[in-house]
Amino acid sequence: MSKDVLLKVELLSDPNLLCVVRATIEQLTELFGFPPPERRSVTRAVDEALTNIVRHAYGGQPGHPIEIVFRRVPPQRAANRGDGLEILLCDRGPAVDPLKLRGRRLDEIKPGGLGLHFIRQSMDTVEFTRKRGVNQLRLIKYLQGARHDSNS
């Protein structure tokens, strides 16, 4: 395992495990140095991403594999950002339709379609890719201010 990897979690597509992952992320983001609002943002983004995998990639069926890898990535000094927490979420569901990754407009009051919006609002980087039958969602949240980086 790369030295930049902070944590690797393998779980099955069971909604009852979401609370376990949230608790883990709350602890990890605190350890990483994020203040409470950013801890909630990262937790919310990963929880919503997992919810999408369980509901859409695996059609609500339990027992399918999900992998989450947490890594430390270098600061973006030009943007006055400290170290970043990168989170890779991988599933083996069908390819995702890019049109469905846009999220819906918020000027309509209707249930559903909010998860992607929450993810995009919560993270600094959100990228979807598919390689060799694996959907990968890459999320990054940076610490604000260079004083937080690992070299200080």
């Binding site: 909604p15 009852n16 979401l18 609370c19 949230r22 409470p36 609002p37 909630r40 937790t43 919310r44 929880d47 919503e48 919810t51 369980v54 509901r55 918020l106 000027d107 009051i109 209707k110 249930p111 559903g112 909010l114 998860g115 919006h117 929450f118 609002q121 919560s122």
Partner: protein, 110 residues
């Protein structure tokens, strides 16, 4: 998540505790729609004081409750929002759509 109801003649208060997520939001949805759409209780209040986390499926359940209240001419009120609950309603631009109160007394007085 746990949900329990306190009922008076015209009002039902749902006391919800724990996290509302994909695993249990259908339970809250069923409780809200049963009260608003089937029983047509004039005023339904959701106590979120002990809810630490609410995800998009939980927000969707609240929106369905809101739509049911509008369809039936009843009211759905919320109080006791945690920072996490307030944030998701702000992110989804719903904070001003719901009737939100600080505490139970204010909700009952409205």
């Amino acid at each position: 998540m746990q949900i329990s109801a306190r009922r008076t003649e015209n009002t039902t208060i749902f006391d919800v505790s724990g996290d509302i997520d994909l695993a249990n939001s259908p339970e809250m949805r069923k409780a809200l729609l049963g009260e608003l759409r089937e029983k047509r209780t004039p005023r339904v209040i959701v106590n979120l004081t002990k809810v630490r986390y609410i995800d998009s499926s939980g927000v969707a359940s609240l929106v369905e409750g809101l739509k049911a209240s509008r369809d039936t001419g009843t009211r759905l009120l919320l109080f006791g929002l945690s920072p996490a609950a307030r944030e998701v309603l702000q992110l989804s631009r719903l904070l001003k759509i719901f009737e939100v109160f600080e505490n139970e007394e204010q909700a009952l007085a409205s």
